[in-house]
Symmetry: C2
Subunit: 181 residues, 2 copies
């Protein structure tokens, strides 16, 4: 796919931010256009319908996932550390889009669910290579899902700190060792 106009990217970013910050209900075409700095007409030139916009975001997640999993596999501290640590990030292109698509997946957007499942599978695979046990790998990815869920609720309750993540990574180490031994 050639060039891909700048406006397209700004629109997807704005849509993703609104979804994660304020929920499905707040992510209207008007609001997305305003945040992206274009008119509603301009938005509808790039994405002819709201469904098209949602599919565009799901497709964008697939691209980002491919890149992110590659980084994860090459991470110095290993996939587990990388996955758990990024599961509490609120900035970062990947995290914003992942959370946004999670919101869409709760509504009437099957594409979103499929893109999410694929990311999930890729994570389980990469983590399993590190910990050497499929059950532990699934548990790690479930932890990641839990962290994402908490993070997404935002500034309300007690935030998850870096120290908490350190402790979780330790726990996974203990677990993998116990399983191997």
């Amino acid at each position: 796919m050639p060039p891909a106009p700048v406006a397209r990217g700004k629109i997807l970013r704005a849509f993703a931010e609104l979804l994660t910050d304020s929920g499905e209900r707040a992510a209207t075409l008007d609001a997305v256009a305003a945040r992206a700095g274009v008119s509603k007409g301009g938005l509808l030139y790039h994405f002819p319908s709201k469904d098209a916009l949602a599919e565009g975001l799901a497709a964008h997640l697939r691209e980002l996932t491919e890149a992110d999993v590659a980084v994860m596999r090459a991470a110095p501290a290993g996939p587990v550390d990388y996955l758990l640590r990024t599961s509490t990030a609120t900035d970062g292109d990947f995290e914003v889009v992942y959370l946004a698509v999670s919101r869409l997946a709760q509504g009437a957007y099957p594409h979103a669910r499929a893109a999410l499942d694929d990311a999930h599978d890729a994570w389980v695979e990469a983590v399993a290579e590190e910990v050497g046990d499929p059950t532990v790998a699934r548990a790690v990815v479930l932890l990641s899902d839990g962290l994402y869920a908490r993070t997404a609720l935002g500034a309300g309750g007690p935030r998850v700190t870096d120290d908490d993540i350190d402790a979780l990574v330790d726990l996974v180490g203990v677990l993998a060792a116990a399983r191997r031994g």
Copy 2:
């Protein structure tokens, strides 16, 4: 609070089901009224606005949480087993309402976030008494959150089975033992 009319309960139930099954967008007053078997006017008699309806559901979650945590503490196989096993249930009053309030918490409903945080805290406390380690307790509740998140996505990908839960409960046992030892 005296009697609490039957219609009120049916309305809250219908609202919760629509939220969990189809998302925030689909849970309109029209749809809720239709599913509850009342008219829109009838609904608005019990809950004078949509905000009031959302607050009603959050309050309902608080009631259910109190009862559920009591059951959890008394569960024969222990809180961990109980929590993880119920985190994949899609029927059950508590689970439906919990997931529904999770949806609301993503939007503009601060009450929902608060009710969720309280449930979370109660779980961590109950689990900590069993496993004897606050970090492991937090990890278990994060696993529960992850399971809820997966469950909520519905029939799409590979479902979490009872055997998977057995394996997770085992894992937690290994972890708690390793920590104590």
